[in-house]
Symmetry: C2
C-alpha cells in the first residue's frame, strides 16, 4: 500500500513528535463492545485519520468485508471461502451449529460423569497456539469461580520426542483424555506424535488409546478413516488453522477444561465484538484503525517489529498466538492477484507480559537505537479480586501507565545514558476485567485487524504458500524414493554425524 | 561501530547472495568445547572474516576481556567489576566458593531428608528468566535419568495478583519451599509478591512462611534484615541480574530440583566453554564471531531483529531468557564514555522452538517483505533416546536441515506467491545432546557473545539506566507525597475509572 499523502506526512513528522495531554488522552479512544482502544500515544493525529479514512473508502474495504461475510471465495489461491466469523456465530450455519451442539452434548456428558484428570491436545500451529493461549488465559477465572477443572491440561505439538515424553510424564495415562487435531488429517507432526503416543501408552499397558481420543478434522479425512476415535467433531476447509480458535478446534478443550458455559461466553464475546466488522469509520472501528496504524508503522516509519505487552500474566501465551496469526497471514511478498509488492507487509511480533517485560527488553525500548512500537493490553480490575491483592494490582496499573508516558514523553538529562528521547509510540487496549467474553473479544479484535490489514495491503491473509518449500526439502531427505538437495543433505550430515 | 570497509562490503554484497555447497558447509564451522558453530549460511565470506579480525585487533578486544577477567571496574557507570565468570568458576574466589559450598551442603541435607513437594522461586528479571529456562530445559534429562524431582517447580515474577494466586493454586503450601531472590533486597515486585504470598499463606493457617524460605541477596540487604529466612545465600554487586544464572540465583533452585551434581555439571560446562574467552581469532572463537556477525546484520544489513530457533522443546524459554540478556545489555544509546552513538546497538530478539515455529511465523521468514536473520540450535540425539522416538527425531532434524537450506537457497517459480527468493541468512549451533553441561556451555556462548558485542560497540553491557524512568513515574503515581506527571496520571485514570 503506497500512498503519496502518507509518504508526505511521514517526511513531515520525521522524527515523530508525540504530544500528549490529559484531553487528548481522554478523547483519542474508541469504545467498542467489551474493549476500548486508546491511540493517544501512537503519534497518529487528525491528518493521519483523514488519510486513513480516504484510503479505507478508496479501497472499498467495506465491500471486501461483505464479500468475505458472504462466503465468497476470498481465499483466491485455495479457491475457498473464509468462514471463521460464521463458525463462532453458531446459529448462522447449520453445519457449525450441529457440530457445536454435538460438542456441547458430548462434553457435558463427560464432565457430568467426571472431569477428566488430564487433558492432552495433540496438534500443531493453529491447533495448539490459540487453544493453549485460551486455557492459560482463563486459569485465574477458574480459580476465582471455583470451577472443577482437570489436574493437567497439556499440549503435544512439536515433533521432538523429548517433548512428547515430557508431556506424558507424571500423569495417569488411563485417566487421560486425548484430543487429536488435524484439519487435513495429514499433518506430519501430529500423526507422528500420535503414533509415538500410541507406542508409549501401549508400553504402559493401554491396548488402544484411540478409545480415549476425540478427533477433530474435516469429514472423510485420513484422521477419520485411519483411526477409531471415541468421538469426532468436524470442521471444514473454510476455517484456516490460525483462525480456528473459535471453532471446535479451540472450543472442545476449552469446554472440557472449564465447562460448556465458558465456551458459550467466549463465542458470545467474539460475536459481540464482530459487530463492528462493517463499521466503515476508522475512528469508530478499533481493529480497522489498528490495521491502518500497523501499516503506517511498518511502511512509513520503518518499524520492522511490533511488541505486544499484556499487563496480565494469564495472557503469557498471547504474543506467541499473535505471532502465527499476524506473521503467517501477512508475511507475504505478492499481491492477492499474483503481482510483486513494492511495500512492506508483516511486522515481526514479539512480547511478554508486563511488568516482567520491564525487567527484560524494556531497556532497549526506552534507550535502544531503534524505535519499536508497542501495543499494551490492560485491565481495570484483577480476576481474583481479593483485598490482599489490591496493592499488587495498583502497582501493576501504575507501571503500565508510567511506561506509556515514559516511552512517549521521555526525560531530558545531560548524561546521554540517563536521557530518554521519548517519542516512542504505543497503543493501549483496555477492558474492565479479563474474562472468557473479553478473551473472545480480544481474539476478534486481532483476527479482524489482520483481515483489514490484508485488504489494505491487497494480499491474501488466508493462505501460506511460504511453508511449502521446507516441507518438500525435509520430505526429500527422509523419503528414500526422492532425491535430497545437496545443501539440505550437507546440513543433515552435519546434524547427524 | 562504523567501519568503512564493512560499509563498502555491504554495498557490494547488496542484495546478499548466499552461495552454499557441501564443502563450504563442512568447513565454515568452529568447534569449541561442547558446541560447534556453523556460519556457512550466514552470508559471511573470507573478506568479512578478514575485516572482523582487523576490527577485533584494532579495538584490542583481548585487552578488554582481560581487564574484565581481572575484576577491573569495567561497568563504569556503576563503578563495579563484572564477575560472573569467576562466580561459576567457584574455585577462583573464596567468597563464591563458600557460598556455593554452603548451598550444596544445605541442598543435599534438604534432598536427603525429602525432596520438597513444590518449589517456588519469587524473583523478577534475571532472578527468574535464567533459572526458569534451566529448570524447563533439563526436564527430559531428569526423566531419562529417573531423577527424583519436586512435583512442581514454579516461579512468581509478575506483580499481577492473579499470577500469584494462580502459582499458589493446587499445591500443598505446607510442603512448599520458597526461594526469595532480590540482589538489592529492594525489588518492588518481589517484595510486594512476597508480602502477598505471606498474606495468602497466613489465610491458609501458616503462621510464618519465612520458616519455609531461602533468601538470596547481597549481604546486609533489606531482604536479610527484614525477614527471618531459614537459609541465606549471598551474591555481590559484581553479578548483574541478567548474568546471575550461574550464581546461587540460578543454582539453588537447579540443585534443589535436580540435585547438586547437576548444578556442578552445569557450571563445569559453562567454565569449559569460557576457555575460549581469550582466544583472539574470530575463526576459532564462536561467541566472538557471533558478536561480529550480529553487528554486521544489525548495522550493515539493517536487520532490526534476530530470531533464535532451538529445535528442542525443552529450550522453549530460551528466547525469553535471551531477550533480557541481549536487549537489556545492548539496548543502549550512548557509549561507555557518555558519547552519543551514530550506529545501531541491540537487535530485537524473538523465537520459538522448531518445528512449532515453522507452523507459526516461518511463512513471514520465507516470503515476508523483510529479511530477518535466524540462529538455529540443534542436537544430534534426543535426550530420551528410545527406539519408539527415533522416527520423530529424524523428522525434527530433517526439518531443521531443510529450513536452513530453503531459507538460504530459495526456489524459483513463475507464481510470485510460490516463489522463494532465498538469501535469508542463518547460523547454527550444534551439540551432540542437550544436557546440563551443554546448557552451561550455551549460557556461556550467549553471555560471551553479548560481552564481545558490547566491547565492539563501545557500550556498557552491564548497566540498565533505561529502566529508571518508568520506575520513577510509577512511584510518583502511587506515593501520595510525590507529584505525578499529568500524562501518567491521565493514563492511570483511563485504567482505573
Amino acid at each position: 500500500m503506497q500512498n503519496k499523502k502518507l509518504k508526505a506526512l511521514s517526511k513531515e513528522s520525521n522524527p515523530l513528535n508525540i504530544t500528549l495531554d490529559s484531553i487528548s488522552i481522554s478523547t483519542s479512544i474508541i469504545k467498542n463492545p467489551l474493549l476500548s482502544f486508546s491511540y493517544a500515544a501512537s503519534g497518529i493525529g487528525k491528518e493521519h485519520l483523514r488519510i486513513f479514512q480516504d484510503i479505507v473508502e478508496s479501497i472499498d474495504v467495506n465491500k471486501k468485508v461483505n464479500s468475505l461475510l458472504n462466503s465468497d471465495h476470498v481465499n483466491k489461491s485455495e479457491n475457498s471461502a473464509v468462514n471463521h466469523h460464521k463458525c463462532r456465530d453458531v446459529k448462522s450455519t447449520s453445519f457449525y451449529q450441529n457440530e457445536y451442539n454435538k460438542l456441547k452434548e458430548t462434553v457435558n456428558k463427560i464432565r457430568e460423569e467426571s472431569v477428566p484428570e488430564t487433558l492432552i491436545q495433540i496438534g500443531i500451529g493453529g491447533s495448539f497456539l490459540g487453544p493453549q493461549m485460551c486455557i492459560e488465559a482463563l486459569k485465574p477465572w477458574a480459580i476465582a469461580n471455583a470451577i472443577k477443572t482437570p489436574k493437567q491440561c497439556r499440549f503435544i505439538s512439536n515433533v521432538d520426542p523429548d517433548h512428547v515424553h515430557t508431556q506424558l510424564e507424571g500423569i495417569n495415562l488411563k485417566k487421560t483424555l486425548f484430543i487429536v487435531v488435524s484439519k487435513s488429517g495429514t499433518t506430519q507432526e501430529t500423526l507422528a506424535n500420535f503414533e509415538l503416543v500410541k507406542a508409549i501408552t501401549k508400553l504402559s499397558g493401554i491396548e488402544s488409546i484411540e478409545k480415549q481420543c476425540i478427533g477433530i478434522t474435516c469429514k472423510g479425512s485420513l484422521l477419520e478413516t485411519n483411526y477409531n476415535f471415541m468421538h469426532l467433531f468436524y470442521i471444514d476447509d473454510s476455517i484456516g488453522g490460525r483462525f480456528s480458535t473459535s471453532s471446535v478446534v479451540g472450543m472442545t478443550i476449552l469446554a472440557l477444561c472449564y465447562g460448556t458455559d465458558i465456551a458459550d461466553a467466549f463465542l458470545e464475546g467474539a460475536v459481540q465484538y464482530d459487530s463492528v466488522l462493517t463499521v466503515n469509520e476508522v475512528i469508530k472501528n478499533a481493529p480497522l484503525l489498528n490495521a491502518c496504524i500497523s501499516i503506517w508503522f511498518r511502511n512509513y516509519c520503518n518499524h520492522q517489529a511490533l511488541g505486544v505487552i499484556p499487563y496480565n500474566s494469564a495472557l503469557q501465551l498471547f504474543p506467541a498466538f499473535l505471532q502465527q496469526l499476524i506473521c503467517e497471514s501477512l508475511g507475504k511478498q505478492g499481491s492477492i492477484d499474483g503481482e510483486p509488492l513494492s511495500y512492506e507487509t508483516s511486522p515481526i511480533i514479539f512480547g511478554e507480559p508486563g511488568t516482567n517485560a520491564q525487567h527484560s527488553f524494556f531497556q532497549m525500548l526506552h534507550q535502544g537505537s531503534t524505535t519499536t512500537p508497542l501495543q499494551f493490553i490492560g485491565f481495570k480490575k484483577p480476576v481474583i479480586d481479593t483485598p490482599v491483592g489490591v496493592k499488587n494490582h495498583t502497582l501493576l496499573n501504575s507501571h503500565k501507565s508510567a511506561q506509556i508516558a515514559g516511552l512517549a514523553m521521555g526525560k531530558n538529562d545531560p548524561n546521554i545514558n540517563k536521557k530518554f528521547f521519548g517519542n516512542r509510540p504505543s497503543t493501549l487496549i483496555i477492558a474492565s476485567q479479563q474474562s472468557q467474553k473479553v478473551l473472545g473479544a480480544l481474539l476478534s479484535f486481532y483476527e479482524n485487524t489482520v483481515m483489514y490489514e490484508s485488504f489494505l495491503l491487497n494480499i491474501n491473509a488466508f493462505d501460506q504458500e511460504g511453508v511449502q518449500l521446507g516441507k518438500v526439502l525435509a520430505n526429500n531427505l527422509i523419503d528414500s524414493s526422492k532425491v535430497a538437495d545437496p545443501v539440505s543433505k550437507a546440513y543433515w550430515d552435519l546434524l547427524n554425524k
